[in-house]
């Protein structure tokens, strides 16, 4: 960026960075049945410390660190996906959850678990990808997105109907296949409780591609906001932008669902917050939304562990509690 950022943008960025770092530190150490300190991370960095509690070090390395990293990355994924969906549909209500992407991914994973169509042979993220793609296309088609004048409310209502259908199918598949209700209830609500390094390894390649694509497209999103005709006149190949953005959104969401289940409303809340704070320039908005999303989900995960300590609350329940009042406000305000 050629021009330097104004103070009213820099200040929120600084606060945001501080919030994220604090969240990461707290998430690593707080709410543990054992005493944990940040210094327990030192062996990972190559420092040889003979002193120190090996149990704490183990906990830190095997449980806390991957969980915190996964939370941050999923938060970033969902927020960036939300920004892109809203930019593509020019619909302030659009978000990965409300378009049924998360529900589709979860449904496909549940169907695969129940042994349908031999889907279980596919790797988990791929199942989520197929489900998310399918349901997103269904919602877009039913919601009239491909028509001349798409109606924002219709798109969202279609998304909600498809989500209800998929959620019903998911529950049916789970109940009829196996008696694992409790863990599945947690997973369906979106939980980070079972994340380890394997989740992280499943997550980061997809996220890297998705976030990279989003960053590369950020300039095109700015032009797209001027309207299709103007964007076309400025030399943007709209169809390619749409397709690539759709690929990025689905990669980001599906990877998240495969790692932690469907986590709702991050993709709705964070983009709106960021637009307020940092303006409409997508070149700035996308990286900052990633940071905000990461901070938001890390703190939400922290809250989800603390609220009924030592029991775990699925983080998706917390994000839904924080996000739905905001959704009510957006839905009721009739500015179309």
């Amino acid at each position: 960026m050629a021009t330097s950022l104004p103070l009213r943008t820099l200040l929120p960025i600084a606060v945001l960075a501080a919030v994220l770092v604090m969240g990461l530190a707290q998430s690593l150490t707080l709410w543990s049945s054992f005493e944990l300190q940040l210094s327990d991370l030192l062996p990972l960095l190559g420092f040889d410390t003979d002193s120190g509690d090996t149990l704490a070090q183990q906990l830190m390395l095997e449980l806390r660190l991957p969980r915190t990293l996964v939370a941050a990355l999923i938060g970033a994924n969902l927020a960036v996906a939300g920004v892109q969906v809203q930019a593509l549909t020019r619909n302030p209500l659009a978000s990965p959850t409300l378009l049924g992407i998360n529900a589709g991914a979860a449904c496909m994973i549940a169907l695969a678990m129940s042994g349908l169509f031999g889907l279980a042979a596919l790797p988990l993220p791929l199942q989520a990808l197929i489900g998310g793609t399918f349901s997103a296309l269904l919602v877009l088609a039913l919601g009239g997105y491909f028509q001349a004048r798409p109606n924002p409310v219709r798109l969202i209502l279609a998304g909600i109907a498809v989500t209800a259908l998929l959620a019903g199918l998911t529950r049916a598949a789970l109940i009829l296949s196996e008696d694992m209700a409790y863990s599945m209830l947690h997973w369906l609500a979106g939980s980070l409780a079972q994340t380890g390094w394997d989740s992280w390894h499943r997550l980061w390649p997809f996220s890297l591609v998705g976030l990279g694509l989003a960053l590369a497209l950020s300039h095109a999103f700015n032009l797209l906001a001027l309207g299709d005709d103007a964007a076309l006149g400025l030399g943007i190949r709209i169809h390619w932008v749409r397709r690539l953005a759709a690929v990025s959104v689905i990669l980001l969401c599906a990877a998240g669902v495969a790692a932690a289940g469907p986590i709702a409303f991050v993709g709705l809340l964070v983009p709106h917050l960021c637009r307020r704070l940092f303006g409409q320039d997508h070149r700035l908005l996308i990286p900052l939304a990633a940071l905000t999303g990461a901070a938001f989900l890390v703190w939400a995960d922290l809250l989800s562990r603390g609220v009924a300590f030592p029991a775990e609350t699925p983080v998706g329940v917390i994000t839904a509690l924080l996000g739905t009042p905001f959704f009510i406000l957006l839905a009721a305000r009739s500015r179309t």
Binding site: L142, N151, L157, A167, G168, L176, F327, S334
Partner: protein, 321 residues
Amino acid sequence: MRLSILWLLCGALLLSTLLSVTLGAVHLPLAQVWQALIQGGSDDFIINQYRLPRALLAILVGAGLGLSGTLVQGVIRNPLASPDLMGISAGAGLAATAVILFLPAAVHWLPLAAVVGGLGAALLIYALARQYQPAPARLALTGIAVSAFLTSLIDFLLIIHPVELNNALIWLTGSLWGRSWEQIPLLGVGLALLIPLAMRLAWRLDICALGEQSAVSLGARPKALQIQALLLAVILASLSVCVAGTISFVGLLAPHFARLLCGGHHRLLIPVSALSGALLVSAADLIARILQPPLELPVGVVTAIIGAPYFIFLLLRYKGW
């Protein structure tokens, strides 16, 4: 001809009830069922304590939800409105969950708490609608948003108080599992009182469908009528929820089905929609039980799988964007 529809629905309902009493994990032929009904015997428990009350409850719950949906749609004049999409069911569910978890001693007040919760949700929607004056489709969206918020509160309460997961799951999706004769008087008496009240509102609802000005000039008071009808709708939906949890889409589907069968006159629409709702829940519960016995699905899952595509169909046909 119109009356024959009523008889037809009653026949279908009877058939569905007979099937639910005979089919299940243990198949009992009708003769055996009859014997158990008359003199008890070896099948007494299955028939009299398990299947019969459940079949009756399905009918009562469905009738309450169907009627509630008709009243809501009649008053708001919005084809996308229904007690569960307007958050009423979720409000009632939240209040009932809170009572079960925090005041287990006051469990006798459960129906009252559910009604209060349903009313609270309805008032919230009403306040939002007054504030923002949304178009019909957006009002439906607002209701869904409120419903999502209340549902996430229910989830939250259930998950931080993991007392009994089975109960929790029932509240999450609506189920008729494990119900007995205890709940039947409540709903039966409620319906017996409320259906005549709804019938008394029927002609005024018809007048109101002509528009507010015509209604006033014909001697109906639209505001008072709206309040009475919505109050009835909230009570009906809340009682159903407090017995069976939130069974989604019945309140949307049944009135549409009824209108398709017998047109828009509420005198006929009210009983027909109650019967359609009863038939829907009864059939859905039958499917939920016999799909893969002895495992069974919550009936709310089956109604969602039937109802969500219909909601999509409504959206595709809806012209008032």
